[in-house]
């Protein structure tokens, strides 16, 4: 079968349409959270000739940035208009940018949403009887915890 990609009429290419597509792009390491819910989207501009998307890195050294960038470029290709996808430090990404849906998505992936260590709850059994094992974890953005109730080690997003 030949797939024919329908180019969107130019009047349909709006910032809202771009954002709807961005909401389908997920963090490569956390498939339950979109980059919109993670708060990565800083700015979307749509010009007659180009689409510009500015994203915020969660951590400066995050090795997933290039994957996220190319995934966004691929996802926007359906709009049939050249897209510039760049990362900016114009405002620092902080964990306050995470949406409630993003927090729910993190818990679904077994990761506690960011909170001060004393306020972290187990993503599996919701217990508050947890202990931080290591402020540093398997990725830059996560710490390691242990739940004393369900006896499950888990990761928590670092508050920054």
């Amino acid at each position: 079968m030949v797939m024919v990609k329908a180019a969107a009429p130019s009047e349909l290419v709006s910032a809202a349409a771009v954002r709807r597509i961005l909401a389908t792009v997920h963090d490569p390491e956390i498939p339950t959270v979109s980059i919109v819910d993670l708060g990565l989207v800083h700015d979307v501009r749509v010009d007659p000739e180009r689409i510009s998307v500015e994203l915020l890195p969660t951590f400066v050294a995050c090795p997933a940035l290039e994957v996220i960038r190319s995934t966004v470029v691929d996802a926007l290709a359906v709009l049939d208009r050249p897209a510039d996808v760049t990362f900016t430090f114009a405002v620092p990404w902080t964990t306050k940018r995470l949406t409630p849906a993003g927090a729910a998505g993190l818990r679904k992936a077994g990761i506690a949403p960011p909170a001060e260590p004393s306020a972290v709850h187990c993503p599996f059994c919701a217990s508050g009887r947890v202990a931080m094992d290591n402020a540093f974890g398997p990725t830059l953005c996560r710490s390691l915890f242990y739940c004393r109730d369900c006896r499950q080690p888990f990761e928590a997003f670092k508050p920054i």
């Binding site: 890195p57 951590f59 400066v60 050294a61 995050c62 900016t88 430090f89 114009a90 405002v91 620092p92 990404w93 902080t94 094992d133 290591n134 402020a135 540093f136 974890g137 398997p138 830059l140 390691l144 670092k158 920054i160």
Partner: protein, 259 residues
């Protein structure tokens, strides 16, 4: 340094500042990454590796600012790797090999406190790209500092071998601690143009007071004055030459390769 084309005194001084900061982060990041796989315990292996990765990311972001500023066609990788050892502008504190765990902790503690003082002075920098990056980096460095403070205290309050090793590392590196905040050649221009909030001498005084309070609380000897402060970022050690040989090895093995 080969950035003579970097325009007026302001740009030249700014480039020197960025080189010094980027090289500091790059060298300590690479040096500390040597612990990956051989950390004293699993949690610390993970922690120091994560910290080292952060530092290499900060270095990369700073090298990118340099590439934009100098605009001579070199990208961040070319600036980071394609220089002879004597072309690096990191502080002499980072010329020491990583040593044992106590030495790594001492060096990181001294560096992280000095770097935090430097970042504080850059928070309102008139050079927007730097101020924006610093706002981001400070949030991450806070974790490094908390971790190093915990470890310094743990080693200092132990008796016997841990404390002895800590004291030996301090005796070795203490005289070089202040090199991170030694004045740069273009400092008057940096201060005049609002790129740095205060002269480095002022930043260094505040940093010494803070470290001094911690050391007094832990019964550690006072930090000695900076040795040979006029050459704080030149004349690198054999240990750094060996490190340089290693971190440029892949880049040199296939010139122009893309990844």
């Amino acid at each position: 340094m080969d950035f003579a084309g970097a325009g007026d005194g302001r740009e030249r001084a700014l480039a020197l500042l960025l080189f010094s900061m980027a090289d500091d982060e790059f060298v300590i990041g690479f040096s500390d990454s040597e612990w990956t796989g051989i950390g004293p315990i699993l949690e610390e292996d993970v922690a120091i590796s994560s910290i080292a990765q952060d530092e290499l990311g900060h270095a990369q972001a700073l090298y990118r600012l340099l590439a934009d500023l100098v605009a001579d066609g070199r990208d961040a990788d070319a600036i980071a790797y394609d220089r002879p050892p004597e072309g690096y502008l990191h502080a002499r504190l980072l010329d020491h090999p990583r040593g044992d765990w106590a030495a790594t902790i001492v060096r990181r503690y001294l560096y992280d406190t000095a770097d935090a003082a430097r970042l504080d002075a850059l928070a309102d920098s008139s050079y927007r790209p730097l101020a924006e990056l610093v706002a981001k980096i400070r949030r991450e460095e806070r974790y490094h500092l908390m971790h190093m403070e915990t470890w310094l205290e743990r080693l200092a309050r132990a008796s016997g071998e841990p404390r002895d090793r800590l004291l030996a590392a301090l005796a070795e590196m203490g005289p070089d601690a202040g090199t991170v905040l030694a004045p740069l050649p273009g400092e008057p221009a940096l201060v005049r143009h609002g790129i740095v909030g205060q002269p480095f001498a002022t930043i260094e005084t505040h940093w010494r007071e803070g470290v001094g309070r911690t050391f007094a609380r832990l019964g550690l000897p006072e930090l000695p004055p900076t040795r040979d402060a006029d050459h704080a970022r030149s004349g690198h050690s054999e240990a750094f030459r060996a490190l340089h040989e290693e971190f440029t090895m892949v880049r040199r093995s296939e010139v122009g390769a893309t990844w």
